[in-house]
């Protein structure tokens, strides 16, 4: 076989794998939009569900997911960025910190249902938060923490050493150097981690199944100790638990589309913030 032919075969092969992925994602998107769009209207978005979700809207599920995402980021971002700063700027590189890194990476690979059980045991039962927004948010935060830590640490390490040295040489304390001359330049990377976290937190079902999600709760939560409905769980209910699953099929599509739009919207917002920081702190 001539090297030219080989080259053509390999190029087409690689192109095919990429196109295959795009095709699958495109198919899913088109399918969901095609079937979901007719269902979505003002009532669907703003009304309470009726008859176990077979009728009415999905408003409380939208609100619930929004609360959970907000709670998750509120908890995971400070903890994640905090430990990333510690690992990247303060901790020495030795066996202990390598072990910590290994633990974090391992944590990223733990199945989400395990996080759910962990959250049930620790936050719901042991701490007595009950099935609540609080317990669900902390559980989701534990799940997205590894992603946020790893991306944040990489973002911090990407800031040139000379920024730190230059600052320290002027008499800055370590924290001053980090705060004024390292952290701002890693914001865009940190926000990338947050975007990934948001996507997972909004879409996961297993961790909230046992810690917060309500099967059918046609009212809005009054406090962080209330249960909520959530879009992915609602979708799961409609698809598998509902007595008349085929009848509520359009509602499933509608819910899926709303979830997709919500995640996309949140990510888009984060991307806009990120590009703002990119422009402001270019280097």
């Amino acid at each position: 076989m001539s090297y030219k032919l080989k080259e053509i075969l390999i190029t087409s092969g690689l192109r095919l794998t990429t196109y295959a992925i795009v095709f699958v994602i495109g198919y899913i998107l088109v399918d969901i939009i095609w079937h979901g769009l007719p269902v979505i209207n003002w009532q669907f978005l703003t009304e309470m569900p009726r008859r176990g979700g077979a009728e009415g809207g999905i408003f409380p599920a939208i609100v619930g997911t929004a609360y959970l995402v907000a709670g998750t980021i509120l908890i995971a971002l400070p903890f994640g960025v905090g430990s990333a700063i510690y690992l990247s700027e303060y901790a020495r590189r030795n066996r202990v910190t390598e072990l910590i890194r290994l633990a974090i990476i391992t944590l990223a690979g733990v199945p989400s249902i395990v996080f759910g059980l962990f959250g049930l045991g620790l936050f719901v039962i042991f701490f007595g938060f009950g099935a609540s927004i609080l317990a669900g948010s902390i559980t989701l935060a534990c799940m997205v923490l590894p992603t946020i830590i790893v991306t944040s640490e990489e973002a911090l390490r990407a800031v040139p050493r000379s920024f730190r040295e230059g600052s320290l040489a002027l008499g800055a304390s370590k924290w001053q150097a980090v705060r004024t001359n390292v952290l701002p330049y890693s914001f865009s990377g940190i926000i990338t981690g947050a975007i990934l976290g948001i996507g997972r937190a909004a879409g996961e079902t297993a961790p909230i199944l046992l810690t917060v999600a309500a099967f059918f709760l046609p009212r809005l939560p009054q406090s962080i100790f209330d249960q909520v409905m959530a879009l992915p769980y609602h979708l799961y209910i409609l698809a598998t638990q509902h007595p008349d699953a085929s009848k509520v099929l359009p509602l499933q599509y509608g819910t899926a589309l709303v979830l997709l739009i919500l995640v996309l919207g949140l990510s888009l917002g984060a991307i806009i913030i990120r590009s703002h920081f990119r422009r402001k702190y270019r280097w």
């Binding site: 020495r92 040295e165 320290l168 002027l170 008499g171 001053q176 702190y281």
Partner: protein
């Protein structure tokens, strides 16, 4: 050029200094006194320890893991390695200019104002005054006064290095450490930086690491020759270059190695 050496005070007194990176010893029993308000050049082949020595003077080596130091370095009579030493105030009084000019990706103004700001100066009039004075002192004012809000990375290499000098001056140090400040600059920019060093020594004690022997001869009053972690020879620059005592010094300055 005849270098007039007037009797002066000692700015830095180094005694029995040994320095280690992990198990590797980088400096061996260094003893020297650096005179105040003069330029002292540190020369020697790559890896001889001159930069390491320079960085012991503002404790910049502290930020490298697994380093160890024995001996004393006294600045104004205080051992800067004694426990309880305030590193922030040390680095405030011992400024540093790096080999690769490292302006922060901020405006020219914010670069120079960086030091004063972290030391708590908030008044914008005062900051403006400090920035102007520092930039004037480093000979950059006329070139940048109309674009103080521009990003410092838009300056030329030589301008960037003089900006870094201005930034160091803005915290009003007494001693200025320069780690090959002109090694990445073209000849004209180098000449400007060298002229600047000549002007600055009226007010500052300057210690400069350089690979360029002509530069050491041009700008310095005293020269220290380092070789393999030891201080081989130290003396008045004109004497050291015209009449080196040690064989290694002679070989190095005549270009036989290095």
């Amino acid at each position: 050029m005849v270098v007039k050496v007037k009797p002066t005070d000692t700015a830095i007194e180094v005694a029995e200094l040994n320095f280690y990176y992990g198990d590797t010893q980088a400096l061996f029993n260094i003893n020297l006194s650096i005179p105040s308000k003069m330029v002292t050049a540190l020369i020697g082949p790559s890896g001889c320890g001159k930069s390491t020595f320079l960085r012991t003077l503002n404790r910049m080596n502290d930020i490298i893991d697994d380093t160890r130091l024995a001996g004393t370095i006294k600045i104004d009579g205080t051992d800067i390695y004694e426990s309880g030493m305030d590193i922030v105030s040390l680095r405030k009084s011992v400024g540093m200019v790096f080999q690769k000019s490292n302006p922060f990706p901020k405006s020219i103004f914010d670069n120079v104002a960086y030091g004063p700001r972290i030391h708590g100066i908030k008044s914008s009039e005062l900051l403006t005054e400090i920035v102007e004075k520092s930039l004037e002192r480093s000979g950059l004012w006329d070139e940048v006064k109309d674009r103080l809000d521009d990003n410092a990375l838009g300056l030329s290499g030589g301008q960037q290095q003089r900006l870094c000098i201005a930034r160091a001056l803005a915290v009003q140090p007494e001693i200025l450490l320069m780690d090959e400040p002109a090694s990445a600059l073209d000849p004209r920019s180098t000449a400007k930086v060298e002229d600047l060093i000549g002007e600055l020594k009226e007010d500052y004690t300057i210690i400069i690491v350089t690979h360029n022997m002509q530069q050491a001869a041009r700008v310095s009053d005293y020269t220290a020759f380092f070789y393999e972690g030891s201080l081989v020879e130290y003396g008045v620059t004109s004497n050291l270059f015209t009449n080196p005592k040690a064989k290694q010094t002679e070989d190095y300055i005549t270009g036989r190695f290095g």
